[in-house]
Amino acid sequence: MTLLPGLLDTEAIRKDFPILDRQVHDGQKLVYLDNAATSQKPRQVLDALNEYYERYNANVHRGVHVLAEEATALYEGARDKVASFINAPSRDEVIFTKNASESLNLVANMLGWADEPYRVDHETEIVITEMEHHSNIVPWQLLSQRTGAKLKWFGLTDDGRLDLSNIDEIITEKTKIVSFVLVSNILGTVNPVEAIVRRAQEVGALVCIDASQAAPHMPLDVQSLQADFVAFTGHKMCGPTGIGVLWGRQELLEDLPPFLGGGEMIETVSMHSSTYAPAPHKFEAGTPPIAQAVGLGAAIDYLQSIGMDKILAHEHALTEYAVKKLGEVPDLRIIGPTTAEDRGAAISFTLGDIHPHDVGQVLDEQGIAVRVGHHCARPVCLRYGIPATTRASFYLYSTPAEIDALVDGLEHVRNFFG
């Protein structure tokens, strides 16, 4: 057994995740290395979901009966947990959405419909990067097409980092919003937030950070990031699907207009016009994902019981081990940083001329689950001249033995197609 400094007690942790005991393809032990796509869920989260439906289910913020009050307390309690998890100055800055995509679309639409000084229009510019997930590209393309605002982006260096050499030309006085990913889902790169935020603040642009691949894996402090918006999703951090978060600075949430209209988000409604509830409810039209929020709260309790700094150290040790072991596989090319420095635990690679779908399929036959394709970041594949990659991504329950299994599996793939 490989022992690395900083590893968590995975033997104990894995007992909390029933699915990790599964066997696939007639007795192959499951090696789940697709955590950047979605994480598995611990029993504590599954129990919280069950308990919610078995004991407390009711609609929230309405009704005076016991169940309605208890369900509301649980839902709003989950908001408190999220606020504390990301060190938000106020719980009212935490908006529940259905996923990070919705969170990012919400920001784009707030700005598209906003009055001055926030309004994005044909005289202004939007800045993103070439390493964004499609969910942080397409909403801005839509906003750009609808308003006439110019969409600009940072390119990438050959070793998978943001090219900030022309930052002063990319972010200018015309820039209204800079939206970028904290940790790339395809390259694994951890981006230098401070340099970008500093330049954005110089020109008075807002900053939106996609933290989907950061929130599950490291301590996240929205105050030290100094961003204006931070988006992430629940299902990648041990929570259920169908729940995401948008954190926004309170004064912005007060000033910016709602996007979706409906129940829950109003103060008074007449047939002519309506007034809106204060944030965060202004941005939560309709019955929210209540059980999912409760499940996310349980996931946060679970992660905090282990400690985000310890999870970060565990994954860093695994990543260091993995880049070294993968680097020894002939014909394997890591797409992204080749060391563990400023790097998350998602590692994309190509294996000679073997198509990633073939790599993924032959690994699957050995019980090893990886992601193949362009990972919703097609511009990255274009940038590096490849059709797709194979991606292995780790989490708090991943082990060095699973990395060994991956490396052995890749050897088998090479022999198979060699």
């Binding site: 198509h355 990633p356 073939d358 399929q361 394709g373 594949c381 059709p387 198979f416 197609f417």
Partner: protein, 150 residues
């Protein structure tokens, strides 16, 4: 899924490379980025050539090679029957066990029966066949149109 026949075609493809044709199409499979450019050449209703260039997984590339081997030299009606039989097999979700009659029609293409169990990969196997159908419609439709104007 990866039958020896499939791997053979993948490693040693038949008829690969673009040659003269009556029509050309470009098809992509966006889920995995497989691409094929395919040309057909007809001599009356006989298939004189199917030439292609592409990139993608072993299933998509081997399938194009098998298509070339099976269809070149066939009459259109026979080729259409092969295409329809292959489509039926690939859409069977693994429920069709090819019998002798099917094997006689499909020859090497029966090796793809196992692929039909993997929904994500069926599109890979069908990519070149759909491209051929499209190119054929264009080539013969174009010829019809020419005859009408002549």
């Amino acid at each position: 899924m990866y039958q020896e026949v499939i791997l053979d075609h993948y490693k040693n493809p038949h008829g690969r490379g673009l040659r003269d044709g009556d029509a050309e199409v470009h098809h992509v499979n966006p889920t995995c980025g497989d691409e094929i450019t395919l040309r057909v050449k007809y001599d009356g209703t006989k298939i004189e050539d199917v030439s292609y260039e592409g990139q993608g997984c072993s299933i998509s590339q081997a399938s194009a090679s098998v298509l070339n081997e099976l269809l070149v030299g066939k009459d259109l009606a026979d080729a259409q029957k092969i295409q329809e039989t292959f489509l039926e097999l690939m859409q069977s979700k693994g429920r069709i066990e090819p019998d002798d009659a099917m094997e006689e029609v499909l020859e090497d293409a029966v090796a793809f029966a196992g692929v039909s169990k993997y929904p994500a990969r069926v599109k890979c196997a069908l990519l070149s066949w759909m491209a051929w159908k499209d190119a054929t419609a264009q080539a013969l439709g174009g010829a019809d149109a020419e005859r009408k104007t002549a």
